[in-house]
């Protein structure tokens, strides 16, 4: 089931050199269809792999869709193009949503998603910049992406390049002290070419953030660190795109988009269920989930 389905999707999104332009002109309705395909990929590939992190991948689907299919300037046929906007996935366990997106954009064949986590696959359990086309950073140990993004943004400024840097953080990831070292530094360096997005699904492995390690008042923390803060419904594509547009206009400081999301979004029995942070659906659950995502 999973293999043939992945193969069908591959045909539906065949790659060509005009891909970037085609992608950029998608309507919100078309992007919603993309988001649904990404969710189906996430369920299918993690179910097939037998391990992985579907919950925090599903919560980030609209964020990543808005970026890759509307906001980012990128060339799937030239992943290391020097003037590309950079997307850095700091919450490296959400690799499935990034792999699905890169495949849908044409960075590699959609069929390859079926190899997730297998020996010699280019799709490692957590992101690896060396092996996967389009992956900017090797992640999986939390807390490092914002610092990495600062380095990329500083290089852009030094080179007078106008690319923008987007980094996706988990809310649970913000327990890490390094995030706040980096938050302080990005504001200190006045990096207005940098935007962080927090996939604020409210949950981490041991339960709700507020019970495990309370982050509130989350927006005030970012403000106090010198950031422009935008809060948005992280499953509303039109509002996300508006938020990214507004972030571009902010000068002299970095912007954080706190995207309020639902862990496991799109699959009834996975929504707000922290069990599915690092557990994958079994064969029966995959079938139910895919039916819900038809």
């Amino acid at each position: 089931m999973s293999l043939s389905e992945l193969g069908n999707s591959s045909k539906a999104t065949s790659v060509d050199n005009t891909r970037v332009e085609v992608v950029s002109s998608l309507s919100v309705k078309e992007m919603k269809a993309v988001a649904k395909r990404l969710r189906r990929h996430i369920i299918t590939m993690t179910g097939r792999a037998g391990s992985g992190h579907p919950g925090g991948s599903l919560s980030a689907v609209e964020i990543v869709t808005a970026l890759y299919f509307k906001v980012l300037r990128h060339k799937p046929q030239d992943p290391r193009w020097g003037d590309r906007d950079r997307f850095i996935l700091s919450k490296g366990h959400a690799a499935p949503v990034l792999y699905a997106t890169l495949a849908e954009c044409g960075y590699f064949p959609v069929d390859e998603l079926a190899t997730l986590r297998q020996l010699d696959s280019r799709l490692q359990g957590h992101t690896d910049r060396v092996t996967t086309p389009g992956v900017e950073m090797s992640a999986g140990a939390l807390g490092q992406g914002l610092s990495f993004a600062i380095g990329v943004a500083l290089a852009g400024r030094l080179n007078s390049q106008d690319y923008r840097v987007y980094v996706l953080l988990g809310d649970g990831e913000c327990d890490e002290g390094q995030i706040w070292e980096a938050a302080m530094a990005a504001a200190h360096y006045k990096l207005d070419n940098l935007a962080a997005i927090v996939d604020n699904n409210g949950q981490q492995i041991d339960g709700w953030n507020r019970d495990v390690m309370n982050l509130d008042p989350f927006n005030k923390k970012w403000q106090a660190f010198g950031w422009h803060v935008i809060e948005v419904d992280g499953h509303d594509l039109a509002r996300l795109i508006t938020a990214f547009d507004r972030a571009k206009l902010v000068k002299g400081k970095p912007t954080v988009i706190i995207a309020h999301t639902i862990k496991g979004k799109g699959v009834s029995f996975m929504e707000n269920n922290p069990d599915f942070h690092g557990k994958v659906p079994n064969a029966e659950e995959v079938e139910i989930a895919l039916k819900e995502l038809e």
Binding site: G82, D128, R129, V130, E136, M137, S138, A139, G140, A141, G143, Q144, S147, F148, A149, I150, G151, V152, A153, L154, A155, G156, L158, N159, G177, Q178, E181, A182, M184, A185, H188, Y189
Partner: protein
């Protein structure tokens, strides 16, 4: 006694030279620039110098991001903090990521002196040496430092260069050319080999001179590159001299001694002794007092050579 010169100053001034030649060289520090002497670079190239404050994890990861964007970042602080404070960041964002970051750290070993055990980096070579793909260098004087830093800038990949706090006597002249991964034969000899790095090279030479007067002719190798190590020179020394003593300002475990002994055991087993810090932390005190207290002097090397020669004959 040759003139003692600061390795840190040689580093700082070499950075400025490199900065003038290559606009992609950038430098990061974590609030220690007058001590690491990156302040020379900061003064001349303020736009290419990033003070990250007291935040070493952030600093090394920012360096990785700069490297991923084509820059050649040199990140500096004390050896206790890089790699000590930032090991996971170095592992993930630099080593596993195969990024072109140069970590040049100062204040390695107990020769730091009075600041005490919190500031004595005696585990760093074991930590950094464990990371796949890292090149690890411990220069023995200011001239070798300048050369090693230039080599790091010109070679792709992650580098770790460990400098010490005290000035060290020059063991090389200006014609010296550092070769990556190559041992340097400082003295020829056939009775035993002393392999030394960093602050321990001068005591090793003194020990060899004293032993020669007692009829024991030692070969002395400087092994500035710990990784990748010069296996040929080690094998040759084992075969031709039949006994090896290593000398380093680092714990006995995981540093020069461990690296050399693995090669010796595999390629040409001979008796070995290790002049290094034994499974303990040191204290505050003058550098010379500490080196004496923890067994890192020419006399300790001489004693180790006599023992290893006896073992071979026994």
């Amino acid at each position: 006694m040759p003139e003692a010169v600061s390795l840190r100053e040689a580093y700082g001034k070499t950075l400025v030279e490199l900065g003038r030649e290559n606009p992609d060289i950038v430098v990061l520090d974590a609030d220690l620039s007058p001590s690491t002497m990156t302040h020379f670079f900061a003064r001349e190239f303020p736009d290419r110098f990033f003070d990250c404050g007291v935040a070493e994890q952030n600093m090394v990861t920012i360096a990785a991001g700069l490297a991923a964007s084509g820059k050649i970042p040199f990140a500096s602080t004390f050896a206790v903090f890089v790699p000590g404070r930032s090991f996971d960041q170095i592992r993930m964002s630099i080593a596993y990521s195969r990024l072109n970051v140069k970590l040049v750290v100062t204040h390695g070993g107990i020769s730091v002196g009075e600041d005490g055990a919190s500031h004595h980096s005696i585990e760093d070579l074991a930590l950094i040496g464990s990371l796949p793909g890292f090149t690890v260098i411990v220069p023995a004087d200011a001239i070798e430092t300048a050369q090693a830093v230039k080599t790091a800038a010109a070679s792709y990949g992650p580098f770790y260069i460990r400098l010490c706090r005290p000035k060290l006597p020059l063991v090389y002249n200006q014609d010296y050319r550092f070769e990556l991964g190559k041992a340097v034969t400082m003295r020829q000899g056939k009775d035993a080999t002393i392999i030394a790095i960093g602050v321990m090279l001068s005591p090793a030479l003194d020990a060899a001179d004293n032993l020669r007067r007692q009829g024991i002719n030692c070969r002395v190798l400087n092994m500035p590159t710990l990784k990748p190590v010069d296996e040929a020179a080690i094998t040759e020394a084992a075969g031709e001299t039949g006994a090896i003593v290593t000398a380093e300002d680092h714990l006995e475990h995981g540093g020069l001694g461990s690296i050399i002994s693995q090669v010796v055991v595999r390629r040409h087993p001979v008796p070995m002794e290790f002049v290094a810090i034994k499974d303990t932390y040191a204290k505050s005190g003058k550098a010379t007092e500490l080196l004496q207290r923890y067994g890192l002097t020419a006399k300790d090397i001489e004693q180790a050579v006599r023992e290893v020669v006896k073992k071979r004959q026994g």
